[in-house]
């Protein structure tokens, strides 16, 4: 039976070309857009986790309230003992201390006077401790444009664009000007050991990266850091795990002390939670709209097909074929056409997704003045979900469309069939 229907589809092109094309288009679009949305959000989440939020982050309560301003005076003190207890309590995560700081980078001339300067967005990491994995996590090695990672105190890497703007070369001296955690003026000179380009305009504009020990000395942050970041050992953010961890940690915290540490999950920071929820909503909405629109189009196509095959159905009814059998045949045909269209659409959609996963779309030109942490090359992401996210709606839309249009068969009256056929 299926073979018979299949032959019919292949031989009678007008029965199949238009619906198959529509299904292919719809399925391809669904897969490409879903893959793209997931890819972009996945990259943003991953980049945020590595650079800013961790899978969980610990700050003081006071710091949390003003986190956007990076208030180093509200940093965590006694950070080493806290890290030790975290490593014992939650061994499934890797814990690192980081300090973000703002200020000015000043470049001296031969007389030690200002030649150029620019605002700096500083980040202090555990660069000298190989067990921290910060160099790999931040992808520093492959992001270095020239030079090397700081290997001793007093060395720094700065953003390539920043270096170009200030005309700084490897080995040049630069001076950080800012405030210590007590509000005192802070000056510290560094030798530029390398320049870096992360591919994120927000990071590359005024970046200076130093070891945490230099920052602690420079900012009077003895045994302190602004943040402790925790990364789940398998490297993948699982919100339920992070949420359980947060609840456990925060339940033990002193609620009356504004400098008591408090834990935040990735989703609670930088509006990432609403972004992730938004992607889920949009993906669902997109698939829903697709199924609805495709069903309407395919219903219409089915109606046209039904009209075109009016005589054929009439003859088959006149010959004694039951209405139910003809209806089931139409549905079977729809299943076949939907399957063909969905397979082709899925193949094309997955192909485009894999291509964009490899090459990405470069949006750096649009991010020149952006301060938002997002990758400058947006890539799609292939997941197993893409294999059915377009396929199932494609098939259903075709079947639903034909089920609706096929209802007309039941309205044919056998008594007037011959009269109709004479015409």
């Amino acid at each position: 039976m299926i073979k018979f229907l299949f032959k019919g589809i292949l031989r009678d092109k007008s029965r199949s070309v238009l619906p198959i094309t529509i299904v292919i288009l719809g399925v391809t679009l669904t897969i490409v857009l879903s893959g793209y949305l997931r890819g972009v959000m996945g990259d943003m989440t991953d980049q945020s986790a590595r650079f800013q939020t961790g899978h969980v982050k610990i700050v003081t309560k006071a710091y949390e309230e003003a986190m956007d301003q990076m208030p180093i005076d509200l940093a965590i003190l006694g950070v080493d003992s806290l890290l030790e207890s975290l490593q014992k309590q939650y061994p499934n995560l890797q814990w690192v201390k980081r300090t973000n700081f703002g200020g000015l980078i000043d470049v001296p001339d031969a007389n030690g006077e200002t030649k150029g300067q620019g605002p700096a967005a500083g980040m202090a990491l555990e660069l000298f401790d190989p067990t921290s994995n910060e160099i790999e996590r931040m992808n520093i090695l492959s992001s270095i444009v020239v030079g090397k990672i700081p290997s001793k105190p007093g060395e720094a890497i700065i953003g390539q664009e920043f270096a170009d703007k200030l005309k700084v070369k490897i080995g040049d001296e630069i001076t950080y000007v800012g405030s210590t955690m007590n509000g005192s003026m802070s000056f510290k000179s560094f030798i530029v050991s390398g320049t870096i380009r992360f591919g994120s305009s927000a990071l590359d504009k005024g970046a200076i990266i130093i070891d945490i020990s230099d920052a602690q000395e420079m900012l009077d942050l003895e045994d302190g850091s602004t943040e402790i970041l925790g990364f789940l050992n398998d490297g993948v953010y699982v919100h339920e795990k992070a949420e359980a961890l947060k609840n456990d940690f925060n339940s033990k915290a002193d609620t009356n002390d504004e400098f008591a540490p408090t834990m935040l999950t990735l989703k609670e920071q930088n509006n990432l939670g609403s972004y992730l929820d938004m992607v889920d909503v949009y993906s669902g909405l997109f698939v829903g709209i697709f199924v609805f629109a495709m069903s309407l189009v395919l219903w219409n196509t089915g109606l046209l097909g039904g009209l075109r095959r009016y005589q054929e159905f009439g003859i088959r009814l006149a010959l004694g074929e039951s209405k139910g059998r003809i209806y089931r045949n139409i549905i079977m045909e729809a299943v076949l056409i939907g399957t063909i269209g969905s397979v082709i659409g899925t193949t094309i959609g997955v192909g485009i997704t894999l291509y964009w996963q490899q090459t990405g779309i470069d949006i750096s030109a649009y991010l020149q003045n952006s301060t938002m942490m997002m990758p400058s090359v947006l890539r799609s992401k292939f997941t197993a979900q893409l294999l059915y996210i377009g396929f199932i709606p494609g098939l259903f839309a075709m079947v639903i469309g034909n089920m609706l249009s096929g209802i007309g068969i039941y309205k044919r009256e056998t008594a007037i069939l011959f009269k109709e056929l004479e015409v």
């Binding site: 006071a62 005076d73 509200l74 000015l104 000043d106 001296p108 030690g112 006077e113 200002t114 300067q117 001076t175 000007v177 405030s179 210590t180 007590n182 509000g183 005192s184 003026m185 000056f187 510290k188 000179s189 009077d220 400098f259």
Partner: protein, 243 residues
């Protein structure tokens, strides 16, 4: 007749006989400004976790030249600042560097205090910078004050407008509110411990409160001040920063 009386009374309230604001400000300038000054001051900065005191000695000539040297605490000792017109140089002994700040950087906080570099170094006569109008009369701590509204008449005034409460007897401000061009209140200054120094009244304690920041504000205490003292010209040169 009744309406005429009401009108006359209303008009007499509306046009109260306040003194000329410019005349008041001239007397304030005579107390607060001088051709030169040498000041030793302590700045008590109240942070969220602790308070600290920064001691400095400053030299000023008009409103365009100023030189400060920080004497305590140890972290700050030896740091020097020179302001010439709208440029500021800071010398850091720990790095042996002279760093120039200009533009919006001058509006940044000095050492975590509620004072900006501009606040620290501004000593321009009010009458030169603002058009003024007396808008009321009040009492602060039992002293009668004029409430004067000042609107800037020069482009480079640090604050677009001010409201000052001027002591009617001693002609020093006891309170000031400093506003941005948008009308946003930026800082509130409370001046107290008014003493007679070299024949003029001078508030020796000022509490600056940046209303956009949390905390108790910063106390700026004048420990010693000399007016119209002779200051060698070399003080206001970049060479003096490294001395």
């Amino acid at each position: 007749m009744k309406y005429l009386l009401i009108t006359i009374l209303s008009l007499s309230f509306a046009f109260q006989n306040y003194p000329d604001a410019d005349g008041i400000l001239k007397k304030v300038d005579a107390n607060m400004s001088s051709d030169t000054n040498i000041t030793e001051s302590s700045m008590v900065i109240h942070g969220k976790r602790n308070s600290r005191t920064v001691v400095s000695r400053s030299y000023g000539e008009g409103y365009k030249k100023s030189f400060s040297e920080y004497l305590a605490p140890a972290r700050e000792m030896g740091t020097k600042m020179l302001k010439l017109e709208d440029r500021l140089w800071i010398y850091s002994p720990s790095t042996d560097r002279t760093i120039q700040l200009s533009g919006h950087m001058l509006r940044q906080s000095v050492m975590g205090s509620d004072l900006s570099y501009e606040d620290m170094m501004e000593d321009r006569k009010l009458t030169e910078m603002y058009n003024s109008k007396v808008i009321g009369e009040e009492a602060i701590d039992g002293r009668k004050v004029w409430v004067v509204e000042l609107i800037s008449k020069v482009e480079d005034a640090t604050y677009h407008s001010r409201k000052a409460w001027i002591d009617q007897e001693r002609y020093v401000p006891l309170k000031e509110e400093l506003f941005a061009k948008s009308g946003q209140l930026l800082k509130r200054v409370t001046l107290s411990e008014v003493k007679k120094v070299e024949g003029r009244w001078y508030p020796t304690k000022m509490n600056y409160k940046d209303v956009l920041k949390d905390g108790e504000g910063t106390d700026f205490i004048i420990d010693k001040i000399e007016f119209n003292a002779e200051i060698p010209e070399h003080i206001f040169t970049k060479a003096s920063l490294k001395k």
